[in-house]
Point group: C2
Chain length 318, copies 2
């Protein structure tokens, strides 16, 4: 390893089902990274210090003064220790102020990044934990970091967020991915589904169903049933039902989220930044394109960059 890329931080993306570790240089370059099935659901009896040794022991031995920072569910009540939520609007400095320390083996200290909570007036709270670090990392890598930026992070619990002046000003969660998986695996809609191939025409048809906001069209509880009836009347191929359902759910997420984004920005966004798996961000980009919104993809190492930026804001870097 050259002096230029000498690591400045051990960055951990520590979620529910997996643990990713990055050796990050001061310029944001990732020198090495490792992934292990050591998410908080897999680590038994709170043996998080042992899990840290397992994924990063040699790195820690090699770099005795390397600071360690982790984001994700490891900082939840079910994780190593709870790092209480920072209140939105929050950016690097609020997250840095909320870091919580835990002690690993051999006196090594690990810092946990807090999640962010928000609450619309009179409404229920909303939370994120891990996504804040991804978004701030993507923003740090962007040339347009001071512009208002709309982020969409598709997934089990999709997040939409608006970043203003480097801080997460607003966000909301949508249970799109979890509902899709449930309906596909366990509902009457999944039974006739055939194959995993993406069917673009059926996906677009699902988007169109979601976009129909006439009163007679109903909303999601009614529209979901069309995935059954269209198949029943052979108006949807068995190989297209999953794509139709995907389009219906992703389209419904857009229909729910965009009005708030528009109200906050004063206009429809020209583009949003997507962070997520390629197969999923491609579907969201297609759905956004139907509404004439462009999508750009965040850099792949957004979490590592975000952790570096938080560590710097906290004065943890050597």
């Amino acid at each position: 390893m050259s002096a230029e890329s000498s690591p400045a931080l051990l960055a951990l993306d520590w979620g529910t089902t997996s643990l990713r570790a990055f050796l990050v240089a001061a310029d944001g370059t990732v020198a090495e990274h490792r992934t292990a099935p050591l998410g908080i659901l897999q680590v038994k009896d709170g043996a998080f210090a042992e899990a840290l040794e397992e994924i990063a022991g040699p790195w820690l031995a090699r770099h005795p003064a390397l600071p360690i920072l982790a984001s994700g569910m490891i900082g939840s009540r079910q994780g190593w220790r709870e790092a209480p939520y920072a209140e939105a609007p929050a950016g690097l400095s609020e997250l840095a102020r909320g870091l919580v320390a835990v002690d690993g083996r051999r006196g090594r200290r690990l810092w946990l990044v807090p999640g962010i909570a928000t609450r619309a007036k009179g409404g229920p709270p909303d939370v994120m934990r891990g996504e804040e670090t991804q978004m701030l990392g993507a923003l740090a890598a962007s040339a347009a970091r001071d512009e208002a930026t709309v982020f969409v992070l598709p997934g089990t619990h999709s997040k939409w967020a608006l970043l203003e002046a480097g801080r997460i000003a607003w966000f909301a969660t949508f249970m799109t991915g979890e509902l899709y998986a449930l309906l596909k695996s366990h509902s009457i809609l999944g039974r006739p589904m055939v194959g995993e191939a993406a069917d673009r025409a059926s996906f677009r048809r699902g988007l169109a169903c979601a976009a129909d906001n006439s009163p007679a069209a109903g909303a999601l509880l009614h529209k979901l049933f069309s995935a059954r009836t269209l198949a029943l009347f052979d108006e949807l191929p068995a190989g297209g039902i999953a794509s139709y359902l995907s389009g219906l759910l992703i389209g419904s997420e857009l229909a729910e989220a965009l009005p708030t984004v528009v109200a906050r920005l004063g206009a429809a966004p020209e583009r949003v930044t997507l962070i997520g798996e390629a197969a999923l961000t491609e579907l969201y980009a297609a759905a956004l394109a139907e509404r004439r919104i462009a999508a750009r993809l965040a850099a792949a190492d957004a979490t590592a960059r975000g952790l570096l930026a938080i560590a710097r804001a906290a004065g943890l870097l050597i």
Copy 2:
């Protein structure tokens, strides 16, 4: 058995998971009834004639000329034989015209009631199979059978329907019950749920969340997540999460269905007629009461009465 209650019909409510059989007198009185776990999913290799013997063999032997009429999924593609859907608007005479015959043992003929299909202009189709018979039976037993009547049949796939001049003029399906069961058993929302007891305050809170139609409140994909966050912040007791989710879903169903009902009637309905299990109709009655809509319960033997009315319209009664 007295001469007055001599049976006029063997009526079968033959669904996906159960088979109910009724000996019905000409005045609608049910003299005897039996239930067996002989739904179309349980009967193997198309042995429906054997299933009929199993539940009603002695009755058939005792009454050699008794007509036999069945409604429900037994008339679907997965049932004994497909009785093609009648198109809404449809009432007794349309269903009677659509009866399809199958032959049981010893030359006994059984008639299958068709389901009903409908399609909003340009929208996907909707279907029912079994509920049409329940509603027409409830209407036959009602003093107000010529008035426009709104029916709500809560369940796995809830049905809302408007009956005008004795015919099903409009209906729509909502996947409320299936979604509730999926989210309770398989989603992140179900994990912290404790107990089965109904929590009226949490149920009403779910109704209120569903009724919030401000843009910032989002719709179902976002609102569902509040069942998690409210529990996370100890703003909802673990024993109340299931009731909150139930209120959120039932309230969302009302919010979806009522605008179409109002558009068709020209005003909000003063009352609706509920058909379903007591625990569920009670929740729907409470949800409707919050919107100042009264609920009345249909007679319990609506299916048997409906089958009798269809048999009469078809000229099957002796």
